[in-house]
């Protein structure tokens, strides 16, 4: 990765998703000094509101590109776009791929009212929080932890502390345990603080062939490997709600990179909901099954703790950009550019994502050396 740029998160009432994607694309070029015409691959993520914004053909036309390859992913996340770009580069189709996302879904009041499962709509099974809530309830039942439901508040509280050090984050006011316990339930057993914040914003990151990356920027960060496992049979799979297919992704990424959970300086979880952090910690082997609610207490996942998680505030406090902001934060941390929230001697980080309604999983490992 040779560039990564994020716009301010929050409300941009006068801007379209195209404007915000364009702002991020220009920002990444200006910040890195990479010339527009070096870009020979263009990947976008289209907006989730069905408006067709950030469709790659039109975006490429807007920024005057005739790339070798272009394309987009619809409902996935930044890590999946990274995997797409890595394939274009590894196969020799492209050398320098710009990945761009923009959205104005906060000011356009897109409510994510779509059903969590098409069959569930008449029953009121709406919004992705429904699936996440079913998963957390099943988890609490399976491990006999229903009385400990609120322990998951350690995720939102840790990430808020991180967001307070991040000038582009949407929520930067302190959150105490009292605040957390007083917060309203949106979809029990999830409180508002356990669910991501819809935001307007744009992100662009640029991936290049590792052979030429050092010619494009002073401090590239290097992708060490990718793991993927999907589970398209969904609820037909036993315990699909607990995302057990993450275990296959974990095995792949750790075998391919030679890295293990104890080697990492920070962990980045695509946290549409706080339970994603719990399930990631257990399925990737950071702690044992059923142990994460205890494991995350007492600052362990905060800056200065054993494993800082989502040092930018994540989607619970910085903003919901489907994993795109996590890519920017990994770039900053590995280059030592994260300011007040810098992880000391940060050399190795991991990104773990779930996409769709838990049917896609992916992991990336990045290092500050080839």
């Amino acid at each position: 990765m040779v560039a990564a740029y994020a716009t301010q998160q929050g409300e941009h009432p006068d801007k379209t998703a195209w404007d915000l994607g364009l702002e991020a694309f220009r920002g990444a070029l200006q910040q890195s000094g990479i010339k527009r015409d070096r870009i020979d691959g263009l990947l976008t993520e289209t907006t989730q509101d069905g408006s067709g914004q950030m469709e790659p053909t039109r975006f490429g036309q807007m920024v005057g590109l005739n790339p070798r390859a272009s394309g987009s992913l619809h409902y996935a996340t930044a890590g999946f776009t990274t995997a797409y770009a890595a394939g274009l580069i590894a196969s020799g189709q492209c050398q320098v791929v710009a990945c761009v996302y923009g959205t104005n879904q906060r000011t356009s009041k897109f409510r994510f009212h779509r059903a969590s499962d098409p069959f569930g709509a008449p029953y009121g099974f709406l919004n992705p929080a429904g699936f996440a809530g079913l998963g957390y309830q099943r988890y609490l039942h399976k491990y006999d932890r229903l009385a400990d439901r609120d322990k998951i508040g350690a995720v939102a509280i840790a990430q808020r502390k991180h967001a307070m050090l991040n000038p582009i984050a949407l929520r930067r006011e302190p959150m105490t345990w009292e605040d957390y316990r007083a917060d309203r339930f949106v979809v029990w057993p999830l409180r508002r603080s356990d669910i991501c914040l819809i935001t307007d914003g744009g992100v662009c990151f640029i991936l290049a062939d590792a052979e030429i990356a050092a010619d494009l920027t002073d401090h590239p960060i290097y992708l060490q490997g990718i793991g993927r496992q999907d589970a398209l049979r969904m609820l037909e799979n036993e315990d699909h709600l607990l995302i057990p297919h993450m275990k296959s992704t974990a095995t792949q990424i750790y075998e391919r990179t030679g890295v293990g959970p104890r080697d990492l300086d920070a962990l980045y979880v695509q946290d549409a909901h706080a339970p994603a952090v719990i399930l990631t910690l257990e399925n990737y082997g950071f702690c044992g099954e059923g142990e994460a609610l205890d494991w995350i207490q007492d600052g362990r996942i905060e800056l200065g703790g054993e494993l800082p998680v989502n040092t930018h505030g994540g989607q619970l406090s910085e903003g919901y950009m489907v994993g795109w902001l996590h890519q920017v934060e990994m770039f900053r941390q590995l280059r030592g550019e994260a300011g007040a929230r810098q992880v000391p001697d940060c050399e190795l980080v991991q990104f773990c994502a779930t996409g769709g309604f838990r049917e896609f999983t992916l992991s990336l490992v990045y290092a500050n050396q080839p």
Binding site: H113, Y123, L126, R138, L241
Partner: protein
Amino acid sequence: MQEPRQLRNKYTARFWDALQQNRLMLPRCRDCGHWLFPIGPCCSNCLSDALEWTPLSGKGEVWSFIVYHHAFAPEFKDKLPYNVAIVKLDEGPRIISNVVGIANDEIRNGMRVAAQFDPVDEAHTLLRFRPDATA
């Protein structure tokens, strides 16, 4: 918001027709015995075309459940708080539904439930579940 009529298609029409007659039916594979849910054009387990619409007992257990305190669509505002559950049918499929006839805070994982057929309009009936200790 999708109504049942919009979920009706080539593959699911017989499912909705059966509910209208207060019966729960799903396609079952004659070759491997797999019950199809979601309903599709062939057996998702062995790709056989030998599907047979077969009645189910309508009995099962609560696998997981949630309680909505926020209406993501206006038509659910006056139903708050309402539950959504995954019911694991005794025949195997896990199905999204509501548990009715019980307070939300009395629902438990593993609770035995039986099918209840709730007409929503002249052409469609929704499958819901009620607690049934004898189920």
